[in-house]
Symmetry: C2
């Protein structure tokens, strides 16, 4: 499946290149070549991202026509900067890039974010030639380049917003690093993360990948203490072997998951134009991902939902789930997705069963899935049911669904208190839903105690299915069952 | 497929019952039997729903121990109320319900919302006997009952919030009526609708359905001028034939879509406990839905997403979609879902192609899917591309994806202005995504002009696929292609 003919051009040996990306993510100083104080220019937005994003290092705007930009002393060229420059962000027209890279080499910079477009992705063949030229220049100089044709990158832990979108700085700091071949998808997923309070660590737009590709990123992020989960968005890459081999070697260290588009004819064709790579061979990617222990998902929401579960939850030790629901309907929806995805509804031990029957009147379902409806006014009972099931040896994971109603307002707080002090390492995924963010604080507390919350029971159940697929893939070395 | 043995108990003739539900949805007066001023009681929350929900009719609290509740004169019994009572909401213990129904008959009320639980859904067989008793009482008296075991119902157009959840009144008024067998799913979907600004018309919790079932609701809503789309959430019903026959007769009048849980063994079993009906025969439902022109969907989000598309959009006349995207990645994700769902990427006419090439430099994809990236700073170009493609005879529908970045901030407004004044009746579905609701107003304007917006390109594309499935089902009388 991974023979060179069908997969990977085999032009280079795996691991030929190995750049230190530390200075790109944690630079002590950043120069912006093409900095601007004109809001119609990307160089303006890059300056805004750095400054509004509270980057703590030195910033050096470079623009031959200005003395000062954003109130910061501006230099006419890179060579004029009297101090060391770790990272250079380039926002110049494509034709000026080769010369600028030579200046970077002379200055001894450690990394470049090349925002400029107009390389391999354009119809005109001059673009491809230009990309070859800069790749060769960068490799000779030993400078890793993010891009060209990228929005940039963000390290929310420094913080460093080296992109043309200042709003990225509004994303919460967390453990998920997102590596994307598309700027648009990076923006989309960052906005979704902001809206749902999902914490990210790094956001990286690889763009046309002249000398830094997915494999290099995975290798760096595997060693990055601020990254717990690596989420990839791919269209098509020239050299998938490097990614697959890198992921294989790191197998078991940190979860990697991937959303790959290009299943359809039209998007495959589009991929070629967009990033200069055919998406192609979609099925082959699927098989290779499995072999490498990379979990494949099928939408942008599923990528984020699953990354969140992997970032917050332990993996289930088996397939036996308990569905505990404040109302039966959402519990049934969760059951459908869970069973459809290869999980089974576990049978409670006689002791658990006795306890639940003592807590719930014979008004509703007291077996699995449990309808906790009759505990409506009694959040203590809800808490005790969850606690009891959590301790049942026959249950590997819990899906917890409660829809707000006036009478159960207290239950979310009682649950988050109890779950904060739990001892077992079983995954619990929840769908606590309320209007007007009434339960916002309780849900934040729940997530802080390792219970990821989802907007619907189906998405909570799907995320648990993916945790299970991932745990099985780790054990079996490739067979994740249901996909 | 619809023979009586396999599907439907055949105990009654189709259409035996036909209640006028007008007074339930548009009562001039409402009595609350079991009204309370104790926030620990559901009778308190029902009173709060009516009063905070700005119900414009007369409200009569009934509670023998009180003179006044919520500052409203309170009666010791229904018979003491000196005026006509159209709708009665009952929040009493189950044992008191039969006597209360006799009082309702004596008073000549036109409808009852029976919130009380403890009937057919409980383990104890006395519950089923009690439900039989009240059903027979209600049928003799000719009173339609919503419930028992329901949160109630909401008519956002009156407005009337006859439920125990005051927060339902925060949902926007719109054209989608939601009929649900689960209170929990109704709450979930109402909260999702609130969060996403989806307008609803009626929200109805059918509960145990003693004499009002899905069929009765569909028949009423078909004639309801405030309802444009009927969205059903089902677990399992005793008499699906009535629903199917009712939907068949109304075919082509208004779209009906259905999300049915109970695919899995566990949720099927749960259904029996929850609503007293086996979910069972899941595949049979699928076939019957097709025959009746009911569009089946597979999650709570898909139900709302699709209902929104049906409420706002015209149906596509064919399968040829154009994907116009501000960034290539989201466009490719949309292509995958669209092609996977049976749509095809249309070929532009030579004239359209010429115009797009004049508007976009040869930097990116100018065929379908169009990457409008190079029009980044130029919202006029974006507008002209969309306008041109909209007029192309070879295109039946458009998916429009733009992720916010500082440089394209103006594009959403320019697009919503143009689309407001468009003339063709083709569906346009969008994913305009921005941080911190920066585009909230523009998206509201877009939706007001008939362009539903979705949180992800995949969900926009899935909704268009469903519009297409629905349009084909209407034409072919059952064959919706891809499911």
């Amino acid at each position: 499946m991974l023979d060179q003919e069908s997969f990977g051009k085999g032009e280079r040996e795996v691991d030929e290149r190995s750049y230190d990306l530390g200075a790109i993510f944690k630079p002590g100083s950043v120069a912006v070549i093409g900095a601007s104080d004109n809001p119609g220019k990307l160089g303006f937005h890059v300056m805004k991202s750095l400054t509004h994003g509270r980057y703590p290092g030195r910033i050096f705007p470079v623009n031959p026509g200005k003395d000062e930009i954003f109130g910061i002393k501006t230099f006419s060229s890179l060579s004029q900067i009297p101090e060391t420059v770790d990272l250079v962000i380039i926002v110049l027209p494509a034709g000026q890039v080769p010369g600028t890279l030579r200046e970077c080499e002379a200055k001894g910079v450690s990394g470049v974010v090349l925002i400029t477009a107009g390389f391999k992705e354009i119809e005109d063949r001059s673009g491809e030639a230009l990309q070859k030229e800069i790749t060769s220049l960068a490799n000779q100089a030993g400078i890793p380049i993010i891009g060209p044709n990228t929005f940039g990158l963000i390290n929310l832990h420094l913080p460093l917003n080296a992109s043309f979108t200042p709003e990225f700085s509004g994303v919460e700091k967390g453990k998920i690093s997102l590596v994307s071949q598309s700027g648009g998808m990076s923006h989309l997923m960052a906005f979704l993360a902001m809206e749902n309070g999902i914490g990210l660590s790094k956001i990286i737009g690889l763009g046309n990948r002249c000398n830094i590709d997915f494999a290099d990123m995975v290798r760096y992020l595997m060693e990055d203490s601020e990254t717990g989960v690596i989420a990839l968005y791919l269209e098509g890459i020239d050299d998938p072997r490097r990614l697959i081999e890198t992921a294989k070697r790191a197998r078991g260290k940190k979860p990697i998951l991937a959303y790959k588009v290009g299943r359809s004819r039209a998007s495959d064709k589009a991929s070629q134009f967009h990033t200069g790579s055919l998406a192609g061979k979609h099925e082959i990617y699927g098989g290779a991902f499995k072999q490498a222990g990379i979990l494949a998902v099928e939408s942008s929401e599923e990528l984020l939902d699953t990354a969140k579960a992997l970032a917050l939850c332990p993996l289930p030790m088996g397939s036996r789930v308990a569905v505990l629901s404040g109302q039966a309907g959402p519990g049934m929806a969760a059951c459908d997705v869970a069973e459809g995805g290869g999980l089974s509804l576990g049978t409670f031990s006689p002791e658990t069963q006795r306890k639940i029957e003592a807590l719930l009147p014979p008004l509703a379902i007291r077996t699995n899935p449990v309808d906790m409806g009759p505990a409506w006014y009694d959040s203590e009972a809800t808490r005790e049911i969850v606690k009891t099931v959590l301790e049942d040896q026959g249950i590997d994971a819990i899906i917890l669904c409660i829809m707000f109603a006036s009478a159960n307002r207290a239950s979310a707080g009682v649950l988050s208190d109890m779950l904060l002090h739990r001892s077992t390492g079983k995954p619990i995924l929840s769908c606590l839903s309320s209007p007007d963010r009434i339960w916002e604080k309780e849900i934040k507390d729940l997530e802080a105690s390792g219970v990821p919350n989802y907007p619907t029971p189906e998405r909570a159940a799907r995320s648990l299915v993916n945790l299970f697929r991932f745990s099985r893939m780790r054990v079996s070395g490739g067979n994740d069952g249901n996909r």
